[in-house]
Amino acid sequence: MRRVFSALLSATFVLAAGQVPAAGIADIGKVLTPAPMICGAFTQSKSLKALARPLVSRGRVVFVSGTGVLWQITSPFPSRLLFKTEAVIRWDENDVPKPTGFAQFPQFRALSDVFFAVFDGDTSRLATVFDASATVGPDTWTLTLKPRDKEFAARISDIDVSGGRYVEELTITEGQGDRTAIRFSGLTADGCVLSTAEKGYLAY
């Protein structure tokens, strides 16, 4: 009996030890390049099992280190979100900002964590919230994240991120089998020109 117990106990330790950052994660930093500002275009394609075809929207993303990620959808329906570390701000059609806590939107919290990690070039901190596994090549990397929180995992089963110098693709697979794929294009750290409006939104 005692032996069974101690076996269980050591198994727990092994499991606990498994929660340290996977070896590969730190290596992503060798490829992924952090920058004070990154901007570019994205295409979001949401495939719901309930619908015959994916819902596709396009827009522009601007990341400013220490400030936030401005997520602007330009088509088919313009909308705007600003991810901050502690909240997400949505602008309504009258351009009135509506700050929302992450309480009711754990998917925002996950995205915020992932965005800040990949844009800041520090993916290893994701290991505190997710079970992470990574493969890193000379110029590319992929990262698979599974939420540790049970309630959260019931909604988002995993997040796959891949890229090179910058993040290129992000796929969120939900518990029900729906998938949202975000493809980034033309991300750049140097040629970012922000409009006055964008500066205003980022300054929220």
Binding site: L48, A50, S57, F102, L111, T128, D149, E174
Partner: protein, 781 residues
Amino acid sequence: MHTRLIALLWVAALCLLSAWLIAARGPVVNTNLMALLPSSDRDPVVLAAVDRVQTNFARHLAVLVGAPDFAGAKEAAERVATRMKASGHFRKLRVNDYHDLVRHSVAFYLPQRFHLLGTRGRAQLTAGDLAGFERDVLKRYYAAQSTVGSGLVDRDPLLLLPAFLEERTQQATGKPELREGYLTVREKGRIYIALIGELSETPFSSSVQQALMPEFDRLRRVLPETVADADLLIAGVLPHAAAGTQSGIDEISTVGLGSMLAIVILLIVMFRSVQPFLLTLSTIGLGCVSGFAACLAIFGEVHLITLIFGSSLVGISVDYSFHYFCERFRLQDKWSPVAARRHVLPGITLGLLTSGIGFAGLFFAPFPGMQGMAVFSVVGLCVAYGCVMLCYPPLTQRPTPTRTVLLLRWMERYSGLWRRKWTWHGYAVAGGLVIVAVIGCLRLAASDDVRLLQTPDAAVMEEELRIRNLIGRNLASQFLLVEGRDAADFLVREEALTGKLKQLQSDGRLEGHLAISDFVASPQRRAENRALLKRLVSGEGSILDRVAQRVGLPDVTRAAYVAAFEAASTAPAAGIPEWLAHPVSEPHRHLWLGKSARGVVGAVGLRGVHDIGAIRALAGDDPQIHFVDPAGDISDLFGQYRRQTVWLTLASYGLVLLILILRYGLSGGLLVMAPPAIAAVVSLGVLGFVGEPVSLFNVMALLLVLGIGVDYSLFFRETGADNPTTLLAIALSCITTLLAFGLLAFSATTAIHAFGLTVLAGILAAFLLSPMSGWRRPAGG
């Protein structure tokens, strides 16, 4: 021997009676400053509802435990929770059983999706803006990181549920997020776990305060030892109440100790003997204990403020002792206890009568705490009077050796100034006081602010603000009550009210509201919503068709939805009881106040009230709606009672004047009344001079100025204007009173401070003017 027996019986009887009364009730001391206030004149149903809201509010305590990371915060929070549970003072403590509100909302509202409409959607459909409604639905499909999933689209292709829930979560603007069942908030580099406890007793109970506050202080100290950089924040009524009690206790000790020390030094220095000191101390002590017992017997509890003021009031019985013992200076070798008693009897008796009238005036004040003070002080004074009359002569048979002291010589010189009428000295004193009074009175302003009674402790307030910022919730202290015959009637009335509130919100006069009817629709509203929605799903080219085509919704799904919509018409709807029983209502359940004598009552919370008049007007139109503004109500009461108390005080002064005229004739009575009356004006003048507003508490203090001041003049009237031993006794009494109330003027509680300052100025003026009441009497009495 006979007189000794009477004295012994008097003391023994009082001690036994008091001990019995105190033992029967238990020494219940209430520290809730608000308990001093009269209940407002609202009707009982509203009062009961307000009481439920406030009791519920007062019992809740938010404890935030923070650390640099979640694991640390979790460990620290569990430690704190264990200690809180072990204290036995919490009826409920929520640590990590927070449910996923979204999941519960979906479970509760999904079956209602065929009549679910948010405010915006309802407005669009009512106005016939179908295009706007369609656009909103599509936007929801395409929104960045939307909550829309297959499970939902299958059952609710018009996305009515997320539209509704989005509005509801906008209303609950809390920032906390769930993590492993814990309620957490993040701040730069830190994570806090919120523990929400409900006390099993009122936070104003001193046993709760004494058990919990030191424990929290200890946890603040030891937490960082086990979890690196951990900290603890508390918000709720408890820390405020505890800080209030602490300052109350500190003030009692300061005031009590200060005046006691002054009395000890004065008596020992003056009389070169411990006996007068011991007798005086026992007299005041017995007076206070009797007063305390009488209050317990009548009111069932004694308020802390009653105890502070009452003890000070009983403290003026030290006058009786002073007059008795000061006779030694006058009679020297011819002194005998019986002669001394005979000499001071008329003065002391009249003094008791007039002070009694002055203090009894407090009984007619509508404040329960003030009534307590009246009982406490009148009983205490009568007991002290009895002690002096019955116990002093048999216990002070042998006169102790006395010497003329320095103070007595000063008194001789001062009373000499008043020997003749209208010397320039009298003019100088009176003129100086009049100038102060006139200038000051011209600058007087009234204040009825609730902060008179509650000056929040700065440290407690700062912590509360931090928690408010962290949690991001800022409910107004005002709220509305809605009455209804039954739950359905209640919902209809509340919906009508929230409709008007939304109008105020769009006008910017209100930031938000929280009402049950936002979460549970009335049967009428459900029927209306269904009728509006029916137009969206039926017929060719309906909104449902258009949306289905645009997003690629399969025909089967669409047909199934329409069939379900038709079938749902007879589905039982969820009302208030179902909502209350479901975990979805957890954050808002407190709004429901249940049955009343007339039906049912519920509360509507308000956020960011910018136009209080507009909201008050909503309630003014409708007898079923009540606007409650606790702070405003108290200020109104303060103002109302300040005006009432002014009349009460004037009546007291008039009554005392009448008694004095009956004894001394018209001019004599006016002369005796003049010093306390002038003193009252002077003390008002001083308030104006230093820029203090006049509140109820200043007016109350004028009653004390009358009670004590009239004592001073009476003795002069009885003994003559230039009697230095009378002036000495009065001076001794004045010094002790000034010390006691002078210290009150330093109180952190504005009300006590105001009381102290008024008495300070008034008593000093009454003392300086008191010899004038002895005019027209031959010197030496």
